[in-house]
């Protein structure tokens, strides 16, 4: 039996090879699922931690404890031991998950009280942090303690101040270090002494500390500075000995401590994330003082996991359906060519089971091949598509997160079982019939099932009904996506339903068209045309399958390409709009406090040298730069209604040259028109249309804006007011995002744009952004080196190029690009192969017929014309129909998809993008496929031997 099967498979080696290929692809797609899911989930975790770091500017994976101790419990050593005890308990349990590496431990213990310096009262804390000295440098002064040996004295110390420090220490003061922030905001200097009234020793002497130095961080990126130096607004750092001595001698009524452990979040993976989350939730539930920063991240991950799982299946389903259809098609061809043999076997008394069993053995062999080839192919394809940065663009970026998982073997086995079932289906139906029934059946073959039962109309109607409902519920879907609720997979599947339904309808219509063309010229058709039209119309049911396959491949290929392009490009557009320029740089400005004329403390910013930025233009990387002063806490008030507005101060010409903005925004009025209005009117204001609507403002109306202080300590301080005249009303503006979300609620921002000098005159200079236009794509590291060379140290650096590349690494975008690319490649390969198989086997089956044609005197060139006509009216029409279906479904569904990927309301509506390149790629493959097919067919026909062909009929 095995010999017979081997011989059969060898005889039909091309069809067998195609079936093996189908099985291989099926296994590959199936095994991609768990691998892609695992990788995407790891990527989701990474990006959650990364996004948190960017948005909060904090290390993301921190657990810890914050507590306070009273009276006699306030012993430093006891507190430090207690901290270590907790630490050990946590890691004893967390070790069960997988060893979590620890990056850094930060321990801070402190006692806080009010103290007096000069004639002012300050609320201060005496603090101790182990290893503090190893992470600081001295900006001024020095610290006298063995533990701080590594903190070298500052260069150029003021000798007078140091003498004061020495004499204060001699007087029993404890030396301490303060941050530059405290120095600037509270006006403390080295050598100053602070007295704490509340803390006295047994002799009744008050506790005194002397500022012996000003510290600054050695390295701002050091994870030790989880709490940044600027956040230490009250802390005066003392040594361990001093802390112990103070606790022993002075009547301090308690102390508090903070203990943070920074975990290496690379160790938290999709394998252990749930266990980590469980343990951390348990710690938090039994200990109210337990601190964890990343529990919301893990919760977001859990809801993202559901979305990713659903999305992967939903994106895979169409291509999975196509591969199964391909297998079915090839298997049907095999069954068709072996139908006589099957019918004969049945007539000779073989049971159905025996016939099916014979094919099952073949399936087993194919399944084995499929598994052996499919597993590595799936792994390779997944790695390839995991490295996509755009549709059909690979750079291998995130691919390292994707690796083998044992689940792949299970999925591979499921795939081969499914494939085997699909292979057997046509055999089962053929095994029912004997040779007599088979001949009768041949005569009765009619319309395809879908055509008879109007499946196309039903599918199309259902999909349109669903689409209508989704469109009505757009807002709810948007909200659900933003809330992280489970995504409705029907949103995606609906488009597949539509493509299948519309594809079948297009096929039905193309069939009517062929009939119409045939009827129009029925009397006049040349024999070849006559025969070919009859061939197309009479074998429509049989040929329909390859036509459906062609239509669906082209339609889905186009739809997938357009969807991916639209999602990517809209994301890019929004980032480009939101960032405002190619690079936005904010430096750290020094805020100085001073006494004003009424002897109240006021502040002002020291503007860093802007000349350094102007020098950037000397580099080939930079085209333009400009200052943009963006002030969020500005108020507009009219008729008792007050609102916050974002005030933007700009230099209009430079701004126009530097900012990124689409010309077609603002209802097609070029934005330079508004910049010109502003430039010609020093008091002019450009306002956003929502602000104009809210206050019923028109061009020419005067408005007044007031502004309070910048920082918490000066937030109640009035900084000034500004009056201007509305010179333009705009919907959109570079960097102005109208909508934002707070606690799940959608809110609107209002914008006022004024000339830079006018804003500075009204409110004084404040930290501004420097917007930079770059000359095309630049190397990010080179740009940072350029900033460094010009002594520019950004506090915040927004690089559009980096934002776009980060966006493309987001799991949802990444898997969409990856899956669409994967589907596109597989669809193209299958389409090309499916097409060739169909045509070659169709010619082989028609060999007798061609022999008859040739015997009757039909020349070879007429036979070729006949096949060309068949290609035009079946293949070409199918490709055209597929293209049409793809474009129509893009127009109808892609905006709906956009909501899933870009749920936030935005100034920029979702715009549908398609790239001619994708259409060209598809067209080239289809054209190549047709050309190769035609060449093969011509060769087959040329080599046709009439008498041999006629003999076929006698057999």
């Amino acid at each position: 039996m095995f010999k017979l099967i081997r011989q059969k498979m060898k005889n039909k080696r091309w069809l067998t090879a195609c079936l093996t290929l189908g099985m291989t692809f099926l296994v590959a797609i199936f095994v991609c699922q768990p691998m892609f899911e695992k990788g995407a989930l790891n990527m989701l975790l990474r990006s959650s931690f990364y996004d948190y770091t960017i948005s909060e500017n904090k290390y993301p994976a921190v657990i810890g404890r914050e507590d306070s101790k009273k009276g006699e419990d306030g012993d430093l050593e006891a507190v430090l031991n207690e901290i270590d005890g907790y630490d050990r308990t946590w890691f004893k349990y967390l070790a069960d998950t997988d060893a979590l590496e620890i990056q850094t431990r930060v321990k801070l213990t402190e006692m806080a009280s009010t103290g007096f310096y000069g004639n002012r009262t300050h609320y201060m804390a005496l603090s101790y942090m182990p290893e503090f000295g190893q992470h600081i440098t001295m900006a001024d002064g020095q610290f006298y303690d063995s533990e701080f040996d590594t903190a070298e004295p500052a260069e150029g110390n003021n000798e007078y101040a140091m003498t004061q420090v020495m004499s204060a220490i001699d007087d029993g003061c404890y030396p301490c270090l303060i941050s530059q922030k405290i120095m600037n905001e509270r006006g403390f200097v080295v050598g100053e002494t602070l007295t704490f009234d509340m803390w006295k020793n047994k002799d009744g002497e008050k506790l005194k500390v002397v500022v012996s130095g000003i510290y600054k961080e050695k390295d701002i990126y050091d994870s030790f500075w989880y709490i940044e130096p600027d956040e230490f607004k009250n802390e005066m750092f003392i040594s361990r000995e001093a802390m112990n001595a103070i606790l022993e001698e002075y009547s301090c009524n308690g102390m508090s401590y903070i203990h943070y452990v920074m975990l290496d979040y690379d160790d938290i993976t999709s394998n252990n994330v749930e266990a980590v989350k469980d343990y951390i939730e348990q710690f938090a539930s039994i200990d109210p003082n337990f601190v964890v920063t990343f529990l919301p991240l893990l919760e977001n991950y859990m809801s993202g996991k559901k979305t990713i799982g659903t999305l992967l299946w939903v994106l895979q389903l169409p291509i999975l359906g196509m591969v199964l259809a391909f297998i079915y098609m090839v298997s049907s061809q095999i069954a068709e060519s072996e139908k006589n043999e099957i019918a004969m076997q049945r007539s000779r008394g073989l049971s159905r089971f025996q016939i099916i069993a014979e094919y099952m053995v073949q399936c087993g062999i194919l399944a084995l091949y499929g598994l052996i080839l499919g597993l590595p192919l799936g792994y390779g394809l997944c790695k390839l598509c995991a490295g996509t940065t755009d549709f059909l663009t690979f750079d291998g970026g995130g691919a390292y997160l994707y690796g083998f998982t044992p689940k792949m073997l299970v999925f591979g086995c499921i795939a081969v079982v499914l494939g085997a079932i699909v292979i057997i289906i046509p055999i089962v139906s053929y095994s029912k019939i004997t040779i007599v029934e088979h001949k009768n059946l041949n005569a009765a073959r009619g319309k395809a099932l879908w055509e008879r039962f109007f499946i196309d109309i039903i599918l199309l109607g259902t999909s349109l009904y669903l689409l209508r409902n989704f469109n009505i519920q757009k807002e709810r879907i948007r909200f659900d996506v933003m809330m992280g609720n489970k995504m409705d997979p029907l949103i995606f599947l609906d488009s597949t339903l539509f493509i299948i339904g519309f594809g079948l309808l297009a096929l039905r219509l193309s069939h009517y068209l062929v009939r119409l063309v045939y009827r129009i010229g029925k009397k006049k058709w040349r024999p070849a045309m006559y025969a070919s039209f009859l061939q197309i119309t009479r074998t429509f049911g049989k040929q329909g399958f390859i036509s459906v396959f062609m239509i669906l491949t082209v339609a889905m290929g186009l739809f997938n390409a357009n969807t991916a392009r639209t999602i990517n490009q809209n994301n890019e557009d929004r980032l480009t709009y939101g960032d405002g320029a190619d690079a936005v740089i904010t430096e750290r400005w020094v805020m100085r406090t001073f006494k004003d004329t009424r002897n109240t403390t006021d502040y002002k910013y020291e503007e860093p040298d802007y000349g350094r930025f102007e020098l950037l233009e000397n580099s080939s990387m930079v085209a333009n730069q400009t200052r943009v002063l963006r002030l969020d806490n500005t108020d507009i008030s009219k008729d008792g209604i007050s609102n916050k507005v974002t005030l933007m101060g700009i230099y209009s010409k430079e701004f126009g040259e530097t900012a990124n903005f689409k010309d077609e925004l603002n209802k097609d009025v070029h934005w330079y028109t508004y910049l010109n209005e502003l430039a010609s009117n020093p008091d002019g204001l450009i306002i956003s249309s929502n602000l104009a609507k809210l206050y019923e403002l028109q061009i020419g109306d005067a408005i007044s804006l007031s502004r309070m202080g910048d920082t918490f300590s000066f937030s109640d301080r009035f900084r000034g007011s500004m009056t201007g005249v509305v010179c333009a009303i705009v919907d959109d503006w570079p960097g102005y995002e109208r909508y934002y979300y707070e606690e799940g609620e959608e809110k609107e921002r209002y914008l006022v744009v004024a000339n830079f000098p006018k804003v500075v005159n009204a409110y004084q200079i404040a930290p501004y952004e420097v917007w930079v236009r770059l000359n095309g794509d630049v190397d990010i590291e080179e740009f940072e080196a350029l900033l460094d060379a010009n002594k520019i140290v950004p506090k915040d650096l927004t690089l559009l190029q980096k934002d776009i590349s980060d966006m493309k690494q987001q799991p949802l975008i990444q898997i969409t690009n990856g899956m669409f690319t994967l589907s596109f490649i597989i669809a193209l390969v299958l389409c090309a192969l499916g097409f060739l198989i169909y045509w070659i086997s169709s010619i082989k089956q028609r060999e007798l017929l061609f022999g008859v044609y040739r015997a009757m005197g039909l020349p070879v060139k007429e036979l070729n014309a006949m096949l060309t006509n068949e290609h035009i009216f079946s293949t070409f029409l199918s490709v055209l129909a597929g293209g049409g279906v793809g474009m129509v479904s893009t127009q109808m569904f892609v905006k709906l998809f956009g909501i899933v990927y870009l749920p936030e309301k935005h100034n920029l509506d979702i715009y549908i993008y398609f790239q001619m390149g994708d259409i060209m790629k598809l067209a080239v493959v289809v054209a190549l496929m047709i050309i190769v097919c035609m060449l093969i067919l011509r060769r087959l026909i040329r080599s046709l031997n009439i008498t041999q062909a006629l003999k076929l009929g006698e057999e």
């Binding site: 001949k439 041949n442 005569a443 009765a444 073959r445 058709w525 040349r526 024999p527 006559y530 025969a531 009859l534 061939q535 009479r538 074998t539 007798l848 017929l849 022999g851 008859v852 015997a855 009757m856 005197g857 039909l858 020349p859 009439i946 008498t947 006629l950 076929l952 009929g953 006698e954």
Partner: protein, 229 residues
Amino acid sequence: MDNIIIAENVKRCFRLGDGEDFYALKGVDIDIPRGTLTILKGRSGSGKTTLLNALSTLDTPTEGEIFFDGVSCADMSEADKEALRRKDIGFVFQSVALIPIMNAYENVDFSLRLAQCEEERSSRIKKVLSLVGMQERMLHMPGQMSGGEQQRIAIARAVAPKPKVIFADEPTGALDTDTGLKCMALFKNLITHEGVTIVMTTHDPNLMELGDVIYEMEDGEIIDRRSNI
């Protein structure tokens, strides 16, 4: 007598798999009188079909010459032969070989289109279909007809373009005796009404008497010629 086909010393050699030459026809001389039913009889493998293929220009002899209506086939180009088969030759194959995607009417119509028939095709189709007694079933597909009915359609298709000669290779091979005899009667009828010449092969001894000229073949040679004219 006026011969429409004359074959002189026709040989047909096939190269076998082992490199040896096999002569299926070993120098056949034959003439086909116009307006007759000529039968080539012989056992299976005697060379009947090979001779028929050579006479009908489907195959080219290795040696010898065939004259069709006075013109040497050796002087004809492939296009001339195709034109000859379209206009002057009709075929009825053993395998019936109706075009399965065309109904009876269209099968006949196809041969008329091939022959670039100038007259009104529809009436001609109906006429030949009624001649073979199949007018009632002209819209039926081949799969919906019995073997005998299909053969009658094949005959109608062959005769429709008014060819000079119809070649029929074992036309009754797949038919029962009764249907076979009806088919032969039909051939006789066509010769009378359409003036066509028919050359057919058969191994059925019951049909021999119905032929006007009977050639008997054995091992690629004519071993006997009988005439009932």
